[in-house]
């Protein structure tokens, strides 16, 4: 299928570019959905600007999405991406902000990687708490200043971040080797 050229006419692109001249941005669009790609260090500043600036007024954070691009056919600026799905309820407008991260350590286990850390937006939207926890649980991306960064869907001692592409669909036998607690020992 042929790919059409992205239409980068969304007014928010220009507003952000003019108001934050020190930061580097990239932009993309597909089927009317505009995505702003920001550097990890700028993320919190950009999000706070998008929320407070009256021309943007993205007051509603719909979702936080993690993606792993290991082996993706198209070239990507980094291996992991975190995507923020923003909505402006006054203008009925949906806008995406994306951050790319590259790991500096092996990703098979749960080793803490200083390269996979970004700032949390829970101070702007408390509702991001659980969605960020899910991204941490599934991809091992940590969030600075998060009030309660624990695993949410898998258990605390789970030895991997399961939605990474180097984790097999059938698992690595966690279920078979899980410690059995019987009634006498508990």
């Amino acid at each position: 299928m042929t790919q059409s050229k992205p239409n980068l006419e969304h007014p928010t692109f220009k507003i952000v570019k003019d108001s934050l001249p020190a930061s580097r941005f990239r932009a993309t669009e597909f089927r009317g959905q505009s995505t702003l790609i920001v550097e990890p260090a700028d993320l919190h500043r950009v999000m706070s600007f998008l929320k407070s600036d009256p021309r943007c007024a993205y007051d509603f954070l719909s979702d936080v999405i993690g993606v792993d691009y290991l082996g993706y056919p198209a070239p990507m600026p980094g291996r992991f991406a975190v995507i923020y799905n923003l909505v402006s309820s006054s203008r009925d407008d949906r806008f995406f902000v994306k951050v790319f991260l590259d790991p500096s350590k092996p990703t098979e286990g749960t080793e803490q990687d200083p390269a996979l850390v970004i700032d949390s937006v829970t101070d702007l939207w408390p509702g991001a708490e659980w969605t960020e926890r899910e991204v941490f649980d599934m991809f091992g991306i940590r969030f600075n200043n998060h009030p309660d960064l624990r695993r949410i869907l898998t258990w605390e001692s789970f030895p991997a971040h399961p939605l990474r592409k180097d984790y097999p669909v059938r698992g690595r036998g966690e279920r078979e080797h899980y410690r059995i607690v019987d009634r006498t020992s508990s």
Binding site: P147, L153, P162
Partner: protein, 429 residues
């Protein structure tokens, strides 16, 4: 065993200085109660760790993940038609709405326009899904407060919806009814379908809704248990990403059917200038458990009116988009009767062939019974998605649970939990 008892000061609620706790004499011995994972009032498998002061909830920590079964990982090995079977198992109270939303997102990625007949049928069934979900929530809310009759009033018409779903798809509970660019199959018999739907609306549902309202709306016990309980303000709902009836019960005017119209909620849905279906979005400003109940009751009535507008105006024509778009599976008669149909069938079914969507990312969302249900699809150009992220309304709505329960009595916890309408399969995926 020690628990990290959260939330703490960052959530803006200081438990120590909250009014209702101050009235209570602190005996100095708070105790921890495990609510769930197996408990009749949790509906499904979820767990709350409650730190109680007498009968007041001082802190509440939800623990989820008991039903986590890797649905999003499975999306990476199933193709765009197969994944619909997983999607219906997320919110199993209104599976058909999930099917419709999933294929809406896939069609948006592929750039397919579905036929007017398909749009009308999908709209009717999406509203059926909303009715199905709301009836369970209303009924179970009454059940949690001891009114077993209300539960049965809600459950009887749900059976009739299952019959209709069974009739159109062959499966009662998990219809898996949609396909890329169309539906699994056309209606077996249009007149029978219309008769079943009309009979359901006019005889079953209208009576049931009247019965439920007569039973609960002015019921002293129900009012005492729900009014002023689990209050949420408009600002809180917005900050916590709450959508659906929960948000609308606080006064937020937000409904994707109006804000980002799709299917028959958009004008000119048939390409010939048809008007969008007319309906109102019920809003309440109280934000408590009773307001949520009221909003849901009103939404059921609006759904009835939407179905009434459409049921007699189902357009004729094909159910699938044109087969030469290379995106839609051909009919069985074409597969067995023509070489082109056979080739097209194999092109889509063979594991090394299949769809060739653009290499792109796409988000689509529908307003389902619980709120904004969306799918974020990352496609690598192959027949299977690279990554699918669900935006599960239950999961995001549930994150405010801890805040809503703090300071309330233990007996209010099931009432609040019921009013959030949590479906654990969608919560944990």
């Amino acid at each position: 065993m020690s628990y990290t008892l959260r939330p703490d000061e960052t959530f803006g609620v200081d438990v120590e200085s909250t009014g209702y706790l101050a009235e209570h004499v602190d005996t100095g011995d708070r105790w921890v109660l495990n609510f769930g994972p197996q408990h009749p009032a949790t509906h499904t498998t979820l767990r709350l760790v409650l730190e109680l002061d007498g009968e007041r909830v001082a802190r509440c920590t939800p623990h989820i993940g008991y039903l986590h079964s890797g649905f999003e990982k499975l999306a990476e090995v199933l193709d765009y038609n197969q994944y619909v079977t997983i999607v219906s198992r997320m919110n199993y109270l209104s599976p058909v709405s999930n099917d419709i939303c999933w294929h809406h997102c896939v069609e948006k990625l592929f750039g397919i326009d579905i036929t007017p007949r398909c749009k009308v049928l999908r709209t009717i069934m999406a509203e059926m899904g909303r009715i199905q979900d709301h009836l369970l929530c209303i009924g179970a809310a009454a059940l949690d407060m001891g009114a077993f009759t209300g539960f049965l009033y809600g459950f009887n018409p749900r059976e009739t919806i299952y019959d209709i779903v069974d009739y159109i798809s062959g499966q009662r509970f998990h219809p898996d009814w949609t396909r890329v660019g169309g539906l699994m199959k056309d209606l077996p018999d249009e007149e029978t379908f219309k008769r079943m739907v009309k009979n359901f609306l006019r005889n079953d549902l209208s009576v049931a809704i009247k019965d439920i309202e007569n039973l609960l709306n002015r019921n002293r016990i129900f009012l005492d248990r729900t009014v002023g309980i689990g209050k949420m303000t408009m600002e809180e709902a917005n900050a916590w990403s709450i959508t659906g009836p929960l948000a609308r019960s606080t006064g937020i005017r937000r409904d994707l059917r109006k804000d980002a119209p799709y299917l028959c909620y958009a004008d000119n849905w048939d390409g010939q200038g048809a008007e969008a279906v007319k309906f109102k979005v019920p809003i309440s400003t109280d934000g408590d458990v009773f307001a949520r109940y009221q909003v849901r009751c009103e939404e059921v009535k609006q759904s009835m009116s939407i179905i009434e507008q459409l049921i007699d105006n189902i357009p004729q024509g094909p159910i699938d988009t044109f087969a030469d778009s290379k995106m839609v599976k051909p009919k069985k008669s074409e597969v067995y009767g023509s070489i082109e149909g056979l080739i097209q069938h194999f092109e889509l079914i063979m594991t090394n062939r299949g769809w060739q969507p653009p290499i792109a990312e796409c988000y689509g969302a529908h307003e389902t019974a619980n709120g904004e249900l969306g799918y974020f699809i990352v496609s690598d150009g192959g027949p299977r998605p690279w990554r699918v992220k669900t935006r599960p309304p239950s999961f995001i709505n549930y994150s405010i649970m801890a805040k809503l329960t703090e300071g309330h009595q233990l007996a209010d916890v099931p009432a609040i939990l019921g009013s959030l309408n949590i479906v654990a399969a969608e919560l944990d995926r």
